[in-house]
């Protein structure tokens, strides 16, 4: 489990170098996300190797985010992805990491507090 501040960003990687992360390690503009970027962030965060289930979670997360402009209940994300209730944790080791790999922006003080 990572502590306090967001994970370190390896700016030497060309794909990552071109991106704009905030001080907590979240991508500022979720539209600048691609599968390639997701793979690079996942590598940085020791997530993976990426499987179809990982992608299902990421797409579900992004779908929920763009529908309501907010962080959803992770169980709902898993349901939309047709995966077990705790899949976000088992696949990504926590919803904060999944959120980051999904290229979504900082969901705010309280949401990050409740994200594990």
């Amino acid at each position: 489990m990572s502590v306090a501040a967001g994970p370190a960003i390896d700016h030497r990687q060309p794909v990552i170098k071109a991106l704009d992360f905030d001080e907590h390690g979240f991508l500022r503009d979720p539209k600048k996300w691609s599968r390639n970027i997701a793979k690079r962030i996942a590598e940085m965060d020791d997530v993976g190797p990426m499987t179809p289930d990982h992608w299902a979670i990421l797409y579900s997360l992004r779908e929920h985010y763009f529908a309501n402009n907010t962080a959803p209940l992770m169980a709902s994300v898993c349901r939309t992805a047709h995966l077990p209730k705790y899949a976000v944790h088992s696949l990504f080791g926590g919803c904060r990491r999944a959120w980051r790999v999904a290229g979504l922006p900082n969901p705010g003080e309280e949401a990050t507090t409740y994200m594990t």
């Binding site: 489990m1 990572s2 502590v3 306090a4 501040a5 929920h64 529908a67 309501n68 402009n69 907010t70 962080a71 959803p72 209940l73 992770m74 169980a75 709902s76 349901r79 209730k85 919803c95 969901p107 705010g108 003080e109 309280e110 949401a111 990050t112 507090t113 409740y114 994200m115 594990t116």
Partner: protein, 521 residues
């Protein structure tokens, strides 16, 4: 075990009073609020030019508005009874985290400007000028107090340290020095309706998902209604209940209890938050503004009762202040407590044998209960003294076979704070949160080792979230913290196969409402 860039206290058999280490937590301070978040709350965006003058004006205003505040500043005799009662002192060893010393950071300024000896002989009475260094020290140490009021239990004068911390934060806010976590969140409540910033459609989406989950699990269509008019009960619950584990499992439990009770109920997208961080920053005006949403929602929805979900400080605001902040609630049914706690609601049903429960559903756990500070020391439940301790335990024992209390010096009115209350539940204060959790972790570890406890239940969103993050630092598992109504949810057998009717929606509405009352009486 979670990684930490600070030293995590070692758990020993007993909670030892540490040797003091001067200034060891002087570096700790939360992020400052952005100007926008301060102004949203009616405070100056940034430190004002004449901040000393303004701060002293505010202190003068507060001592005149709240007689208690001045009494607390005047009456401390430095007896030392509080020194080793604070979890932050026990966990950090910083002498300024002794409640008396933390209070004195403000008291010595009060003495300098508002007492005769302080005005003329400041050095003799330990009075100091209000300088920028003093203000910075306030910002650091008044954000190392969770306003839990454990020290007050032991104070022979009954000095309420929380009130001093609240006043200090209010003075700082009034000169433009706000804390990011609290102020950003309060602004979000005003803007969107809850701390998490979940808009109505997101709530509806989540609740629909819960209905599907419960139906899949039980085969019964338990409803989780939003903004439904004309129902009996408005449920006000922390927005964490819509967002994260184990909170949401508690919400599932409330819905099942209402379903079995045969009462109609709803959540509100306008008042989709029980929490009231206005209290943490000591701001009456903001606390009132947050509270008024509940009144407005209750009136708009035409409910007869208000029930609060599992949230510690929200229950303090609700139980102790709601009537003066947002009352009178003369439009609610006077036959029920205004407001009522969900534990009281469930307990009433237990007294009437109105729930069918299978305790063996929780046999995979041995439970203990963490009394949350605000519930324990600032409120009550039921109609007997100590109900706030007895009722949650009675609910747990009714749904679980295996229950053990932690050491008696660490529960009840002497309960240790989780370490994250009072507006400190932010990642930028992780060090003080982890260290401040040491006394509670010690007591928990002892019952884990000696009694085979596997899980700890709580009725506060902050406590649950704090433990979820802090338990791994002490080598425990984040899943070991559970909601009380999660346990109820596991054990409850759904005997009513259809949704309770909403009075007024169907013919014979009176009959329906009578049935509801019967079910509870």
């Amino acid at each position: 075990m979670a990684k930490a860039d600070f030293e995590v206290p070692e758990l020993k058999e007993y909670i030892e009073v540490p040797e003091i280490v001067e200034g060891t937590m002087a570096h700790s301070k939360p992020f400052y609020a952005a100007p926008q978040h301060n102004t949203d709350l009616g405070f100056p965006g940034e430190l004002v030019d004449n901040w000393q003058e303004k701060a002293l004006e505010k202190m003068d205003d507060l001592r005149k508005r709240y007689r208690s505040f001045q009494v607390y500043l005047d009456s401390c005799v430095k007896c030392g009874a509080c020194t080793d009662k604070c979890h932050y002192f026990l966990g950090t060893s910083d002498p300024k985290n002794m409640p008396v010393a933390r209070q004195d950071l403000l008291r010595k300024v009060y003495r300098r400007y508002f007492t005769l000896p302080g005005k003329y002989f400041p050095n003799l009475v330990g009075a100091v000028d209000l300088t920028k260094d003093v203000l910075d020290e306030w910002y650091s140490y008044y954000h190392q107090c969770s306003q839990c009021r454990r020290c007050s239990v032991f104070c022979p004068y009954g000095i309420d340290t929380a009130e001093i911390s609240m006043a200090a934060r209010e003075i700082m806010d009034s000169v433009g020095v706000g804390q990011k976590y609290c102020n950003e969140i309060i602004a979000k409540v005003f803007k969107i309706g809850n701390n998490l910033g979940l808009p109505g459609p997101a709530l509806a989406d989540t609740l629909e998902g819960l209905e599907e989950d419960v139906f899949d699990d039980t085969g019964v269509a338990v409803k989780y209604p939003l903004d439904k008019k004309g129902v009996d009960i408005l449920l006000i619950t922390p927005s964490a209940d819509f967002f994260a584990e184990p909170h949401v499992d508690g919400l599932i439990g409330y819905g099942k209890v209402f379903h079995e009770a045969g009462v109609s109920w709803t959540l509100s997208s306008k008042a989709s938050e029980a929490a009231n961080f206005g209290m943490f920053i000591g701001s009456y005006e903001n606390m009132r503004r947050v509270s008024l949403r509940i009144r407005e929602a209750a009136l708009e929805l035409g409910v007869k009762r208000i029930v609060f979900g599992e949230c510690g400080h929200a229950w303090r605001v609700a139980y102790s202040f709601l009537n003066t902040l947002a009352g009178p609630f003369d439009f609610l049914d006077p036959n029920y407590p205004v407001p009522q706690h969900i534990c009281e609601f469930t307990y009433d049903l237990l007294q009437k044998n109105a729930l069918t429960l299978d305790k063996s559903e929780n046999d995979d756990m041995t439970l203990t209960f963490h009394d949350s500070c605000n519930v324990a020391r600032a409120t009550r439940m039921g109609d007997k003294p100590g109900g706030q301790f007895e009722i949650p335990r009675a609910v747990i024992k009714a749904v679980c076979n295996n229950y053990v209390d932690m050491h008696h010096e660490t529960i009840g009115e002497k309960t240790f704070c989780c370490g994250g209350g009072g507006g400190l539940l932010t990642d930028d204060l992780m060090e003080v949160r982890v260290k401040g959790a040491m006394p509670r972790m010690t007591a928990l570890n002892n019952v884990i080792q000696d009694e085979g406890v596997t899980h700890m239940a709580a009725i506060c969103a902050i406590c649950k979230s704090q433990f979820t993050k802090v338990l791994p630092y002490y080598g425990m598992d984040m899943d070991q913290i559970v909601s009380v109504h999660q346990l109820v949810s596991n054990a409850i057998q759904l005997t009513r196969k259809t949704e309770p009717e909403t009075p007024g929606e169907v013919e014979g509405a009176e009959a329906a409402s009578e049935t509801d009352t019967d079910a509870e009486e």
